[in-house]
Symmetry: C2
Subunit: 634 residues, 2 copies
């Protein structure tokens, strides 16, 4: 996956503190609400309620954490309040322990001088916690509990979160129930009308969903990744070359989740990597993923062949103790597959994949990740870190898509999934990359089959290669399609992909493009309630409730700005016309006349005239199902 720096470094810590304060503003007309649990009465599951001007309340999934709650007191040097602390210790299967002794190398060979590093660590002093781990012989994964039939608070939390508030969706639910036309095509998914805690447990137990939630990340608001849940998105962040302050690092995270990132991967490389991670994890309400081999590589000065299992293992423990929720591990890049990439147009494009390929070639040995996979499982289950099995051999361009190397690795990832599940370690599978539209379905079909429905987590895919500067769009097309077909989480691509490091606005552009893709997938799958937000917005559009139209959108500010460019006056916000046709002629207005027409004398006359048409329509709609041929479910 790509390793961006989500903004151009700004001048000062003060500037970032200010930025963070601004990012804490709630969305327009929005209020954070919390839904209590029933099995676990201390749950407070966040939703964002959007108050419409017609008195309706539209409730949407909220990834932004306490940052958008004006009542939350937040001090990034203290970290977020614990959500899960009591649940974790309450299970009685964890213990505090001394933890691994931090060493200077944790912050990279390129780290600052000792004074500066000490200063940085001091800043984060309050963020250093004594780690938890499973007691000897215990397994603390959500999958382990699920298999034992236990519905954890995390599972109930997820169930409530996925359902949201259903009252306002009643009209849509009724419509969809009445009209077959409005149902989705789940493409083989089995999405219930209501997500129960038991359903979540069952999905986690069978490996079809994961809840990434390290026991050392009690700040996380639990969420699920699985094909029978809402499609999720991931944003990548990385530390900047000139790290100025803790505020700066945290602000990147807060910016990403504000716009809807469900997960964030910290792909930092270089100096101060350990300390920065403390800052991020302690202040993150969303699961944090990493690629531990990046840090391990820093520890050996960037020389891949100098990597050892011991260094890697130590890095896993280091990060597990900090609270990282999932690790990308490229254990499918086996020695035997490397030569399969030799004739590719763009070879190996995954950074982790190429690190491991280089190691295997240099030593003429099987990958230590593959050979030590069960040892890795032992670490994962002691902290409940989830696997994100990396696709180190993913294609880097259209002409390398779906080739032997890619599918050989996928097959190994399926084999490793079963090993992980034997240890009750939660597992998802990373996928491509660059895939033309007509080759996307094969990826999903093969992943479902080979990896036994473990959640798929794809990067795009990009459908073409000729759009540098616009790869968020080229890939949103592929992401929407593969999301519909069953991918559980979509890793975003920004406009800067292939060109440079994304700035603040690029990150936002990438996230919005991916929220569009994920939502398009949810609507197509027929996730209950997904389309209800579209319907609410369309209704607002029809009713000329401009403010509601803005506020129900993914980016209210931008929508309002665009409207203001043409019709800046406040009165235009309630005007029953828009800039497209002007005040004199309006197609929406005509519809009201159509309704009057249909309701009054017009209807009899129209229906008489319609006789001829009806005969044809009957013929035309014979076997009406034909109109709505579903794509073949996979």
């Amino acid at each position: 996956m790509n390793a961006p720096d989500p903004h151009t470094p700004l001048a000062s810590a003060e500037k970032f503190a200010e930025l963070l304060a601004r990012t804490r503003e709630p969305f327009p007309a929005s209020r954070k609400a919390y839904i209590p649990g029933q099995l676990h009465t201390d749950l407070r599951v966040p939703v964002r309620d959007i108050a419409l001007t017609n008195g309706e309340l539209v409730s949407v999934y909220d990834t932004s954490g306490p940052y958008t709650d004006p009542n939350a007191v937040i001090d990034v040097r203290q970290g977020l309040a614990s959500v899960r602390g009591g649940w974790i210790t309450g299970r009685g299967d964890v213990e505090h322990y001394e933890g691994r002794a931090p060493v200077a190398l944790d912050d990279g060979q390129k780290s600052e001088d000792a004074t500066r590093l000490a200063q940085l660590r001091a800043e984060a002093a309050a963020l250093q916690r004594q780690p938890l781990r499973a007691k000897a012989g215990a397994n603390v994964t959500q999958m382990h509990y699920a298999k034992k039939g236990i519905i954890t608070p995390e599972m109930e939390y997820v169930a409530i979160r996925e359902n949201g508030k259903r009252e306002w969706m009643a009209q849509y639910m009724a419509d969809a129930g009445r009209e077959k036309r409005l149902m989705g095509n789940p493409m083989g998914a089995s999405i219930p009308r209501i997500i129960t805690p038991e359903f979540v447990r069952d999905e986690v137990a069978r490996g079809r969903a994961i809840i990434p939630a390290n026991i050392n990340h009690p700040e996380v608001e639990p969420m699920a990744i699985g094909r029978n849940f809402l499609v999720k998105i991931n944003a990548n962040i990385g530390n900047s070359a000139v790290t100025s302050s803790i505020e700066e690092e945290v602000e990147k995270l807060v910016w990403a989740i504000r716009w809807g990132a469900d997960n964030v991967m910290d792909l930092s490389t270089g100096k101060n990597i350990h300390t920065t991670r403390d800052w991020i994890v302690r202040n993150s309400p969303v699961p944090i993923g990493t690629v531990p081999i990046y840090q391990a590589l820093e520890k050996v000065g960037g020389v891949a062949e100098d990597l050892t299992w011991e260094i890697f293992r130590d890095t896993l423990i280091e990060q597990a103790e900090q609270g990282v929720d999932y690790f990308t591990i490229h254990a499918g890049v086996r020695l035997a597959y490397i030569h399969l990439t030799a004739q590719r147009r763009t070879g190996i494009v995954s950074r982790g994949g190429s690190i491991m390929a280089k190691w295997c070639m240099a030593h003429h040995r099987e990958s230590f990740l593959y050979e030590h996979f069960e040892d890795i499982c032992d670490i994962m289950k002691a902290y409940d870190v989830s696997f994100s099995l990396g696709d180190g051999l993913r294609p880097g361009c259209a002409s390398d898509a779906n080739d032997e190397a890619q599918f050989a690795e996928l097959h190994t990832l399926g084999e490793l999934t079963q090993v992980a599940w034997k240890h009750d370690v939660q597992t998802m599978i990373e996928g491509p990359g660059h895939v033309p539209m007509h080759m996307i379905q094969a990826n999903m079909t093969e992943q479902l089959k080979t990896c036994h429905e473990a959640p798929f987590y794809t990067l795009g895919p990009l459908t073409i290669d000729i759009a540098p500067g616009y790869d968020h769009i080229a890939s949103a097309i592929g992401a929407a399609m593969i999301g519909w077909m069953g991918t559980a989480m979509l890793c975003y691509v920004t406009p800067k992909e292939h060109l440079g490091l994304p700035d603040r606005d690029d990150v936002k552009q990438g996230i919005i493009a991916y929220k569009i893709a994920a939502h398009a997938a949810d609507v197509a799958k027929g996730h209950p309630g997904a389309r209800s937000r579209d319907d609410a917005l369309s209704q607002a559009r029809f009713d000329f409730r401009w403010q509601d139209q803005f506020n129900l959108g993914l980016d209210p500010e931008t929508a309002k700005e665009y409207h203001d460019e043409t019709l800046p006056k406040d009165s235009a916000k309630v005007a029953h016309f828009c800039s497209m046709c002007g005040p004199k002629f309006c197609s929406m207005k005509i519809t009201q006349e159509v309704r009057d027409f249909a309701a009054q004398k017009g209807v009899a006359e129209a229906e008489a005239l319609a006789q001829g048409m009806q005969a044809k329509a009957a013929e035309f709609q014979q076997g009406g199902g034909e109109l709505y041929i579903p794509l073949k479910p996979v």
Copy 2:
């Protein structure tokens, strides 16, 4: 369709003249070349040759017309040089005639005072030509010639243009021939490896493609719209409230075709509408479409019920004489269908559709467009104006998609297509609009069946409704999919859709998003050579030929700017690393090592190790076709 103003009005004619001059700059490292005809030796078919730093020449389809040819002398007050003049008169079936006498009302009731209008018309004096029409009893449509077995210069032009220069594609063609994996899935299309003039003739004769080319628009560079050709895109422009100069109007057009618009629709309403159209048509190398009912409505002061067949008919002749290449005609909005929209969430959203609905309701009569359809055909065939049969009842939101009203109208459009074909009038069919992903295929399937493979021309479709400000992305997803499935032309959507009038940058954003969608469709369909540009760019990426990577992209400037933000130095343009991983570690570099590894001793060892894998791979790939299950072709 939406009626945007493609830029914020700028200060002066001088400013626009300057803008136009800048827009005439060729793309970086690009040179306009012309391919001669063989049947018709005077053809000069434009392509854009991109010179790569490795000596290769990549040739791409070029919509920009003479504007990007530094050798072309262009004076917008004189209009472009004629391309087709000799071909048209050479056929001996046309005659010059006096033409309809222009009246003040042609420029709208809201037109300027007489002095100002006279001044505007004087500016365009040189652009007023004596019109041509078919001689009595003659039919001058491309379809008519095609059915008679005549290969016109227009058809050979299209064949050459669709093929481009194939030499540089040799490697790709060989790859695709060798590897089944790299073939597209045409979803029922029949795209030959080489487009011959005879193939074009046959496609036009059977109505599966159109070549919009009014005999009064000799400046047009012929192009084809059909599912067995490259997917095309349309951009909408409209005159601005404050028309300042001829340069301003023409610049909008030049800007749109520079970025790749294959067609432009002039959706102007309001004042000076006739005069502005002279400016646009005379300076346009791409086909121009209009919605004549918009102008007719202006003539009756915006009161739909005051429209008459006579006013409409006169407007058709007026525009046909000016050289408009296709007319959107909403003849499928029948009285009997109007009440079907009464219960929709957003009713009738097509402007043309609602005008006709209002007329039908007011008079309690069948649409005059439907009743006079054969009369309209008589006009169309006298000038070779193509039909774009409008979808006046298209859905305006997801929950109205694929409903009875929409498909009833589509059925009528199919019926009208056969009437048009009886007159040898070229015809395409407009489509939605707003359609969730899982309901897209039904649109295409039904259109192909109902309209007998007449080219489909869709607006998006938008896959979700919650992305105001980003509807170019929400719709590019649907556009790419429906393009793959068989839609021949995609009408763009800009970020301002639903919110306001697009400015210059919005137009560009919309076009680029749609070039991505169209190209993704071409690649998926396996159009010969479509993917070769991707391959050339990917190869440049792998070889660290940064300039080539930028220049092969859809927007070289933006790609270069994004790269410069992170690595501004010129030396970085030839550097064998990028900002993602930095100079020390590079996955692309490692691939070279993989190749050495595979080529040397490594391969034997790797293959020995691969034994175990091979057994599994064999099992995994049994019935290898399974990996590459095509989506069911329609």
